[in-house]
């Protein structure tokens, strides 16, 4: 696992040669400039892909909900209605921007910006593949928890600044819900840190394997429960149904973005869909083996040795496989999130708090204790290894 995408590129000779060539051309040491350009390009690409995924997320949401409710869904713009999100984007840009007269204008403008900053900053540590991780910070997951809490502030400010009663109620509910569910989510992540021995997403993924029985979700019974605690907490943190109380349309009109029109509303929606993707990615990296590919195909050694390809091509084929593995898992979770939204009824506000403080938090604490004892007792082995050892012992030590 390289430290960042720049380190990944640095291991190739071609990249080194390019740096020295550009340095000679410009007459100064260009490695800093190249680093910046690599990061900027990668960040730009990632942001654009994420915006695309966010846009397609709205399309998928409508199409899947239509499937579930036996409707057609969008099918006019582009093939199968695929370009619907572009049409929506154009519509949002063309809409009149209305400022409520009593609103706090500064905060009204600032709220979508804060939401977007918080969500975009989380993309920096998302491990798409072992090479294509913008930066594998040592404090990865802790940093992610920190910056994603900006979204809570943004939701609150969005509700507050409009000076409308619906918005205010939605904002208060949203912020309190987001911070409440951060408690079980943080404790669950803590138990993953306990097992992987590091806070970076690199160490999360590297301590798992490519096959399902090597994933943390099937590592032991406690992590299996922990995954569902994390998933429920994740739904609540992104204000998805059945926890979409902050924007409950049957009681609060549209919650904290009632007064937002046009592009500002669009930015809030974009931030929400990208955040769902990011948290699905975190779930995939922490529990479902992240970018790991079975048979160690991901590091590309096999292609070099068996097919006789040059090292650079073999490695990059491995990267593509890893990216595919990560995206498959993440998009599957994304599908489940949408599926859940259109299956369960919305729950009441007091039930939201009861689920968080009386069910998820105690369960998460119990899991933490259980995983601590498991790692201590079985030296970090998974349940399958423990069972096979026991079985092996019973049959007279068949190693």
């Amino acid at each position: 696992m390289s430290l960042s995408i720049n380190d990944y590129l640095n291991q190739f000779e071609a990249h080194q040669k390019a740096i020295s060539f550009i340095s000679e051309l410009l007459g100064f040491d260009a490695s800093g400039l190249i680093t910046f350009l690599v990061f900027a390009t990668a960040a730009f690409v990632v942001v654009n892909v994420m915006a695309l995924i966010g846009g397609l997320g709205t399309y998928a949401e409508r199409k899947i909900s239509a499937d579930i409710q036996l409707r057609q869904g969008p099918n006019r713009v582009g093939p199968y209605g695929l370009l619907q999100f572009l049409a929506d984007g154009v519509k949002m840009i063309m809409k009149e921007d209305i400022f409520p007269a009593q609103a706090d204008r500064t905060l009204f403008n600032l709220a979508p910006l804060l939401a977007l900053i918080g969500v975009f900053a989380t993309l920096a540590v998302l491990p798409f593949s072992s090479g294509l991780t913008l930066t594998n910070l040592n404090i990865g997951v802790f940093y992610l928890i920190g910056v994603s809490s900006l979204v809570g502030v943004a939701v609150f400010l969005g509700g507050y600044s409009a000076n409308s009663k619906w918005s205010m109620l939605g904002g208060m509910r949203g912020a309190s819900q987001i911070i409440s569910y951060e408690v079980p989510v943080t404790i669950t992540i803590l138990s993953i840190v306990l097992m992987s021995g590091g806070l970076s997403f690199g160490s999360f993924v590297e301590s798992q394997g490519g096959f399902p029985h090597q994933w943390f979700i099937f590592h032991n019974p406690f992590t299996f429960i922990g995954f569902f605690v994390f998933f429920i907490g994740m739904l609540a943190e992104t204000n998805r149904a059945p926890f979409d109380l902050p924007e409950a349309e049957s009681e609060l009109v549209s919650g904290y973005h009632t007064e937002y029109t046009g592009m500002r509303f669009g930015l809030f929606a974009l931030a929400e869909y990208i955040e769902v993707f990011v948290l699905c990615g975190v779930a995939a990296a922490a529990f479902l083996g992240g970018y790991k590919v079975p048979f160690d195909l991901g590091n590309g050694v096999v292609f070099v040795e068996k097919l006789g390809l040059p090292a650079i091509i073999g490695k990059n084929i491995g990267q593509v496989l890893q990216l595919g593995s990560f995206l498959t898992k993440t998009l599957f979770l994304y599908y489940v999130v949408i599926w859940v939204r259109w299956t369960f009824p919305r729950i009441r506000v007091d039930q939201v708090m009861t689920i968080c403080w009386k069910y998820l938090t105690p369960i998460a604490l119990f899991n933490l204790v259980g995983i601590t004892l498991w790692v201590f007792a079985f030296d970090g082995q998974s349940i399958w290894e423990v069972l096979s050892h026991m079985g092996g012992g019973a049959h007279g030590g068949g190693h």
Binding site: I93, E96, L116
Partner: protein, 147 residues
């Protein structure tokens, strides 16, 4: 423990700048394209067709505040436990795991005790019972009768 330079934070700054850029550009483009004809009715806060009465900025229930206080307690707990959790595997590997299990369990159990206390006193309920006890009801009745 690999060493790193500050370059690892570069994507963070770039991504934040991209977020700011996206907002500025999209709002600016929208500003050029969209119509702008405000009137008093449009600028009213939406209240399902009724004229809004007063401001929305009113005193809110104290329970939101309590939730965030309890949240901060757990946040600090997490911040203290993350570094200990990160070295757990290494200590288990060198056979000193018992020390960490002990200190972690003591740490967690103190907090679990706190949760049990709050739970049993009803502080985790969202809808609080404000019912008076029988004695208090009788007291109030007595004072009413006197009046």
């Amino acid at each position: 423990m690999t060493s790193y330079t500050l370059d690892v934070y570069m994507p963070v700054i770039i991504l934040m700048a991209l977020a700011v850029g996206l907002v500025v550009v999209s709002v600016f483009v929208a500003q050029i394209l969209r119509p702008f004809k405000p009137n008093a009715l449009k600028e009213q806060a939406y209240e399902c067709g009724e004229d809004p009465v007063g401001t929305a900025w009113s005193n809110f229930n104290v329970r939101f505040y309590v939730v965030s206080l309890i949240f901060i307690v757990f946040d600090v707990e997490g911040a203290l436990m993350f570094p200990v959790a990160a070295i757990f595997r290494k200590f288990v590997a060198i056979g000193e795991g018992a020390v960490l299990v002990g200190s972690l369990l003591v740490f967690i159990s103190v907090l679990v005790f706190g949760i049990i206390y709050c739970w049993s006193k009803g502080d985790l309920d969202w809808v609080r019972s404000f019912q008076l006890s029988e004695d208090q009801v009788n007291q109030l009745k007595g004072s009413e009768e006197k009046a």
